[in-house]
């Protein structure tokens, strides 16, 4: 992915900022110029930042009547040429799932930020959780492939928002920032550079906007009002957008390409971060806010003579299958602390036969380092 240098939306320097606010600033730096949203705890701060910041950079903002309307307006704006986003939490994401499949089949780039809170249903609005990891991957009906990244710091609320926008534009796919209440409401130092690398969707006039010769290609994307006579539809369609609702060959090719345009290039998405893994016998896999506790736990275990190491998942989807397989080959046991009942631990078992031991916590509180240390020591 070749990025072009772009001047950020904030002056370079050190800032003390909240995670949700850093996400909004990252979006602006990535070129986001449209936001539609609906109030929800713990994501509302993103919207509140955007309502004042977007007009300053020439963007448009609207608070919609519900989350289905929000994601729908985002997709409409994306086809009008915008880099567009919304932010929500579990209950709102449940409504947005309706349009997720639409964004996938129409190959609409957009960013959906999910600041996760304790569920199911209304659950605990102000409490952190990581319960939507599988939902973003499997929530929409039909097979589909999406991109999801998981920040562990205020810095990454900024950096990964930029990256998620870039990947979304590169692959013409909805991208998720899978944050949680703890990192969303965290306040810490944010360093903003002079320039950020951004990717803008390709426009190739005259080429079909919904198909490529290659089975794993990403077609160019014109905007409304450019004279392309765009035919955008959520029905199965040919490369020009004509509905083909009875043609099995078109259905087969479209569904395969929607998956392979990402799976075949997943190395551009997958990002992991290794800590003390060189000689590790005990592996820990964590992501998001939980990875902070996991890193502390690994360091503590080292002082106690346990050779532990951390593999942090920066990207969640597509899944870091090779990194997990390699970790399994290196370690005799792998522990997975997460604020859910073992969603990512379960996914890992597809790629390693090494014992994967979930360390779940779903009481609406973050996982503490001592709990991870204790969980690992109990199962050594």
């Amino acid at each position: 992915m070749e990025l072009k240098k772009s001047k950020g939306a904030l002056a370079a320097g050190w800032y003390f900022m909240q995670g949700d606010e850093a996400c909004a600033e990252g979006a602006l730096a990535a070129g986001c110029r449209f936001y539609a949203g609906y109030p929800i705890t713990p994501a509302s701060e993103i919207m509140i930042r955007m309502v004042t910041r977007l007009p300053e950079v020439g963007g448009a903002f609207i608070q919609m009547e519900d989350e289905i309307g929000s994601i729908s307006a985002v997709i409409g704006a994306a086809w009008a040429g915008a880099k567009a986003m919304t932010a929500t939490s579990g209950p709102g994401l449940s409504l947005m799932i309706e349009a997720l499949g639409y964004a996938v089949i129409t190959e609409t780039p957009c960013l959906i930020v999910d600041v996760q809170r304790a569920g199911p249903s209304t659950g605990q609005a102000t409490r952190p959780a990581q319960g939507d990891m599988m939902m973003v991957k499997w929530g929409a009906h039909g097979d589909n492939e999406i991109v999801a990244l998981s920040p562990w710091s205020v810095q990454e609320m900024y950096d990964l928002t930029v990256k998620a926008f870039n990947l979304s534009e590169r692959f013409r796919v909805p991208a998720f920032l899978l944050a949680d209440e703890a990192v969303g409401h965290l306040r810490e130092t944010l360093v903003i550079q002079e320039e950020v690398g951004v990717f803008d969707r390709l426009k190739t006039p005259g080429k079909p906007p919904f198909g490529t010769e290659a089975i794993n290609g990403v077609p160019p994307m014109p905007a409304f009002g450019e004279g392309a006579n765009l035919l955008v539809t959520g029905s199965t369609h040919d490369p020009w957008g004509f509905r083909k609702t009875q043609d099995s060959a078109v259905q087969a090719r479209l569904t395969e390409r929607l998956i392979r345009k990402i799976q075949d290039f997943k190395s551009e998405v997958i990002e992991t971060d290794s800590h003390l893994l060189e000689d590790a016998e005990i592996g820990v896999v964590a992501y998001g806010f939980t990875a902070r506790a996991a890193l502390a736990a690994v360091k503590t275990l080292r002082t106690q003579g346990v050779k532990a190491g951390l593999l942090r998942l920066v990207s969640i989807w597509p899944f870091a299958d090779e990194a997990v397989a390699a970790l399994g080959r290196r370690c005799r046991k792998v522990f997975v602390p997460e604020m859910n009942r073992g969603q990512i631990a379960g996914e890992m078992t597809k790629f390693t036969s090494t014992p994967v031991i979930p360390l779940p916590k779903t009481n609406g509180e973050v996982i503490e380092p001592a709990e991870i240390v204790e969980g690992i020591r109990r199962n050594l």
Partner: protein, 265 residues
């Protein structure tokens, strides 16, 4: 026919998928005639539709940008496109079930905001594409596949709904009178703010044959007999109007402040 219309249709998309006797073809031609008579360039016009028979009127038949969206969500998609690019003329064309039942929330809120767009609701009083189920617009007593003993629920008056929600142009016309329909559509298109046109369009396949209208001709004739103009209705008694549908312009207030996308920047 106005020769400009030929430049506005997508040859590859014909023939249409509409049943014989469906009113949507008349509505399709009325919309195109309205744009042609206004000498409007469709290059800067975006047509948005939802799911159902009426959603096929613009997409794939119009040679313009078309966005065929999710069931009920057309107005929300249109809102996003219009806000980001205020230079687009945005027209939503969809059915009664799509716009007033599953999409009712988006309809009333776009009207409340006075979003600068035209919404054309093709009302055939039934869910046609899915096999003739009762809709929020089906008249009392009508037989449908989900009201085998007759519809016991009162239908929406879509024009009153749009007016109460704040639409600044509201009108109703049947496809049975295409010339007044085209005239009304032209007014709606050139209106600044949220314009709503309910178009009564017969569905002989799913509605007519289960009720008193055995043929497409009966349905068109039925529309002509049932509709009464707003002017004429003023001189009629309540009991005379009970079985009638009033058509015409109900709201045209161009002076109201609308939600201007540029002002949000």
């Amino acid at each position: 026919m106005n020769p400009r219309i030929y430049e506005m249709i997508n040859d590859r998309a014909f023939p249409t998928p509409f049943c014989p006797g469906c009113g949507h073809g008349i509505l399709m031609s009325a919309v195109l005639r309205a744009f042609a008579e206004l000498e409007w360039d469709l290059k800067s016009t975006l047509f948005v539709s939802g799911i159902g028979c009426a959603a096929w009127i613009p997409s794939p038949h119009f040679k313009a940008d078309t966005l065929h969206t999710l069931h009920g969500r057309a107005i929300a998609y249109a809102t996003g496109a219009k806000l980001f690019n205020p230079r687009l003329k945005v027209m939503v064309i969809s059915g009664d079930g799509d716009l007033s039942s599953i999409g009712g929330n988006h309809l009333i809120h776009a009207a409340r905001r006075n979003m600068d767009m035209t919404v054309v609701c093709a009302n055939n009083s039934i869910y046609g594409m899915t096999g003739g189920q009762v809709a929020s617009t089906t008249p009392l007593g009508s037989l449908t596949t989900t009201t085998p003993k007759g519809n016991a629920e009162r239908p929406f008056d879509l024009c009153k709904l749009a007016e109460a929600a704040g639409a600044t142009f509201v009108a109703r016309q049947p496809v049975a009178t295409p010339i007044p329909l085209t005239r009304t559509l032209k007014k709606a298109i050139t209106h600044t703010g949220f314009s709503f046109v309910e178009v009564l369009s017969p569905c002989p396949t799913q509605y007519g044959r289960r009720n008193a209208f055995r043929t497409a001709f009966d349905m068109i004739q039925g529309l002509k007999n049932t509709c009464v103009s707003a002017e004429k209705a003023k001189e009629m008694k309540a009991e005379e109007l009970a079985a009638k549908v009033v058509v015409g312009e109900f709201v045209n207030s161009g002076t109201q402040k609308l939600l201007d996308a540029d002002e949000r920047r």
